[in-house]
Amino acid sequence: MIEYKNVLTTCPYCGTGCALHLQVLDGALVGVLPAKGHPISNGGLCIKGWNAHAFVNHKDRLRTPLIRKNGKFVEATWEEALSLVAEKLGAIKTESGPDSIGILTSAKCTNEENYLLQKFARAVIGTNNIDHCARL
Amino acid sequence: MYEPSIIGFLCNWCSYRGADSAGMARLKYPPNIKIIRVPCSGRISPELVLRTFREGADGVMVLGCHIGDCHYSTGNHRTAKRMPVLKKLLEYTGIDPERLVINWVSAAEGEKFSIVIKDFTEKIRALPPFVETMR
């Protein structure tokens, strides 16, 4: 059976909240269509929204963490990566103070993840240096 | 006084040789035109013409063999069908379509070539600089 459908969602790129359809063919994401009649975007999109599907199955998309060893990126486990980041961030914080660290978050994260990040910045690191790509 | 910049795309076999004939006959014409040699006028895509205007050219000429005399038999037929549409588009966008000339000059028509260039240069000179009109 051929299955083609559109999944209505919100563009992840900025705070405007344009709606878009993700075109799904046989379970695979194949493209984007703007959503006609949507109260925010009414069938329009910007260049980011039009390409919102592109990164999902892009060959350059990172699927595991990479750690630079001897000048080269090598694949690592999440365990390894997170411990490394925690270790480095801790060291920087001790050495130069919490305001020497800044955090940029992304609209590609969920609201919950964004909430957690600001919590992490303020409560764990101890800085207000946090910003978001959708802060238009 | 304002000196218009003109680019001419000339086919290698007829018009470019026609320009050479004008030279051999020492027929004088204004120096504004700079000639670019292409194998056939059919090689000229609308994109090339538009890019030339975008670069600030005040006039563009596409000259080829007379219909029926094309070195490539019917390459210039495509010029004759493509370029009038481009002229229309210029007009619809508010650009004077006279800024684009399509004409046919054979290898023997040195005199015609010099006249075509003289007329076109004068016509363009009478128009304001292209870049200014688009500002």
Partner: protein, 668 residues
């Protein structure tokens, strides 16, 4: 990689240097174009001289130049020269670019300052372009040694014999039942007055019996495909209704055939032939043809007299047209000319006034094998004319008809005058615009005619009429002409007028040109590659033209061209393989979307659509490099080597930037 570009500016004596400040240009190029990669800019007296070329070669070798620009004359003149110089120094010739600052600058610009600026803009354009040029290698294809000659007149005969004698195979295609062409119809040939048939028939016989010549008469070319070295030609061999393997050419059939037909072709309408016929006794091949349109059997379904009497049973009414497909490497077109139809000049009265003759009619009249047995008589068949006027330039050198000179009419008219004088002793009036006798022995022939007492009236005939104004004009043809030497109108009463009709391109030249991929000039003659230096080649490689199809020519010139075309073809065959256009189109199969716009737009069917891949594909050997496909392709997936968008755009930007910078300078 940054390119190292050498720019060379030619003085061309004072041709360029007299108008363009070449030293300034050279200094400017070295400074202003340095950022583009120009490492050296030189000016030199004559770049095309061996010293000039050595300059480039030395710089390529010593400075490691990767690109070369020469600003001098037209690339049509010296592009090969400088490409070769580059190649000698080990630089791919396609990494060279030429800037035309002579024909398109110094010779056409009055103001020296302006000419110098223009030269700078043109050089900047060439430098912009040359950076994007790519090394190219030529493609070689093998040459099929077989040759097609189209047209069995004297030119085609000569060409076919030259090639066949060298051992190569020739297909000679002729649309009439016999070879021989116009020359077979003539009586005498000027200026030596040899009998035309006497000198032609041995050659016709040689063609008919040559082991290397396949003679296809009563045949026409229908389709030509392919390219130099590899043409596929489709030929329609029309049904003769004669079985050639049985026919002995004995002639019984045409003796017995009851149907007489006016012979418009060979006898120019003056004589009759049968419905089964050979055009003339010496015809090659000897086999007759049944004229389908006039044969009683084909018209009414009965007769078959020829079949009844044929001793070998060679008549075959069931015969069908045969379609032959042959492969050849080169083609020579020797399709000749049509005679100007003087009916188009009503005031000359041809067709209305009985005793006005065309030149071809006169040839038949005067020919011993013709309808009158060579007697020059009026249409009544008995009266010998006492006075004859000969009109030169009929339809030639005339703004209303053909502007060109038909080249043969002066000598033809002199020949007619001589023949009339010799055979009838009539008074002869040659009405001419100018007498042109440029070839060997021609002027002497003219002097001979003057001595014979022929009257020469310098003036174009205004009218030929039978409306008499005086008693002595009664019953005569009156030639109204202004004698421009004495400045008087004259009315010359004569018995006969011969119109020396001009030569015209064959009426089907346009279709012929299209079929063979060559071009016609505005007056309809086939165009040669170069009027002086390449008179028998055409712009289409492997297709040659010879004889009167290229322009009016007499017999010696036609024969010379036939032989010349043969020599050109033999030289190509001798090479075994030939280099074809390197600047061909190429499809980027990754980006091609397979929309087939390029396929439809190619004038040569050189692009095929691969349905499996859904991509276009260029057949390199068929591609002539016009780039029409590139102008059409929307995603620019097809590009033309050596004329890429990058190259053309950079060339344009180079010129535009310099022009704009001069404008800014002026304002400042």
């Amino acid at each position: 990689m940054t390119e190292k570009i050498g720019v060379y500016i030619c003085h061309c004596g004072s041709n360029i240097a007299g108008t363009v400040d070449v030293e300034d240009v050279s200094k400017w190029a070295a400074e202003e174009l340095q950022h583009q990669g120009v490492v050296i800019a030189r000016d030199y007296k004559f770049m095309c001289s061996s010293l000039g070329q050595e300059l480039i070669e030395k710089d390529i070798k010593e400075m490691g130049l990767t690109r070369v620009v020469v600003a001098s004359c037209s690339p049509h003149l010296h592009e090969p020269t400088f490409r070769n110089a580059c190649a000698r120094a080990g630089l791919n010739p396609y990494l060279f670019e030429m800037s035309n600052i002579r024909e398109q600058d110094s010779w056409v610009t009055t103001d020296k300052v302006e000419a110098t600026k223009k030269a700078k803009a043109l050089i900047a354009a060439a430098v912009g372009r040359v950076i994007h040029q790519q090394p190219l290698n030529s493609l070689f294809v093998p040459i099929d040694p077989n040759v097609l000659v189209v047209g069995g007149g004297i030119t085609g005969i000569q060409a076919a014999l030259e090639i066949a004698n060298s051992g190569q195979k020739v297909y000679l295609v002729e649309r009439e039942p016999s070879i021989g062409g116009h020359m077979a119809q003539f009586d005498k040939t000027f200026p030596t007055l040899d009998c035309s048939a006497c000198i032609l028939t041995p050659k016709m016989f040689d063609v008919g019996n040559h082991k290397n010549i396949t003679l296809l008469t009563w045949s026409e070319v229908e389709k030509v495909e392919g390219y130099i070295g590899n043409f596929t030609v489709t030929i329609r061999k029309r049904a003769r209704f004669i079985d050639q393997s049985l026919c002995t050419g004995c002639g019984v059939c045409w003796e017995k055939c009851p149907k007489k037909v006016v012979d418009d072709v060979f006898e120019a309408g003056l004589g009759k032939r049968k419905a089964v016929y050979t055009p003339f006794p010496q015809a090659v091949p000897k086999y007759p043809v049944i004229d389908h349109e006039n044969c009683t059997f084909f018209l009414k379904g009965t007769c078959k007299a020829c079949q009844k009497f044929c001793p070998t049973g060679a008549i075959n009414f069931e015969q069908q047209d045969e379609i032959l497909t042959i492969k050849v490497g080169n083609i020579i077109l020797a399709t000749g000319f049509d005679l100007f139809d003087p009916r188009r000049i009503p005031q000359y009265g041809y067709g209305r006034l009985a005793n006005v003759y065309t030149s071809l009619e006169f040839e038949r009249l005067s020919n011993a094998a013709g309808p009158t047995g060579g007697k020059i008589v009026l249409r009544d068949g008995v009266t010998v004319p006492k006075s004859v006027a000969i009109a030169h330039c009929v339809g030639s050198r005339d703004q209303n008809y053909n502007k060109y000179c038909s080249a043969i009419c002066c000598m033809q008219s002199l020949k007619f005058a001589h023949l009339v004088h010799e055979k009838t002793g009539a008074e002869i009036y040659n009405c001419y615009i100018d007498i042109r006798t440029p070839a060997k022995g021609y002027e002497e022939f003219y002097q001979r005619l003057l001595a014979e007492g022929t009257h020469f009236i310098r003036g174009k005939i205004a009218e030929i009429t039978n409306a008499a104004r005086t008693p002595e004009e009664e019953g005569k043809l009156v030639v109204q002409v202004e004698d421009t030497l004495i400045g008087k109108q004259r009315r010359v009463p004569v018995d006969m007028v011969i119109l020396s009709c001009g030569l015209e391109p064959r009426s089907d030249h346009k279709e012929l040109a299209r079929m063979f991929g060559i071009s016609c000039s505005s007056d309809g003659w086939l165009i040669e590659r170069h009027p002086k230096l390449d008179p028998v080649a055409t712009m289409t490689d492997g297709v040659f033209i010879a004889g009167a199809c290229q322009g009016p020519k007499d017999i010696p010139a036609s024969v010379a061209q036939g032989a010349a075309a043969a020599a050109r073809v033999l030289s190509i065959i001798g090479q075994g393989e030939i280099e074809i256009e390197a600047a061909t189109a190429i499809v980027d199969e990754v980006t091609c979307v397979g929309c087939t716009q390029c396929v439809s737009s190619c004038p040569y069917q050189a692009i095929e659509f691969n349905t499996e891949k859904g991509k276009a594909h260029v057949i390199e050997a068929l591609c002539k490099g016009c780039g029409t496909c590139v102008g059409t392709c929307l995603p620019k997936s097809i590009s033309l080597k050596h004329f890429t968008d990058d190259q053309i755009v950079s060339e344009m930007i180079g010129a535009m930037q310099v022009m704009k910078s001069f404008q800014i300078e002026e304002v400042a």
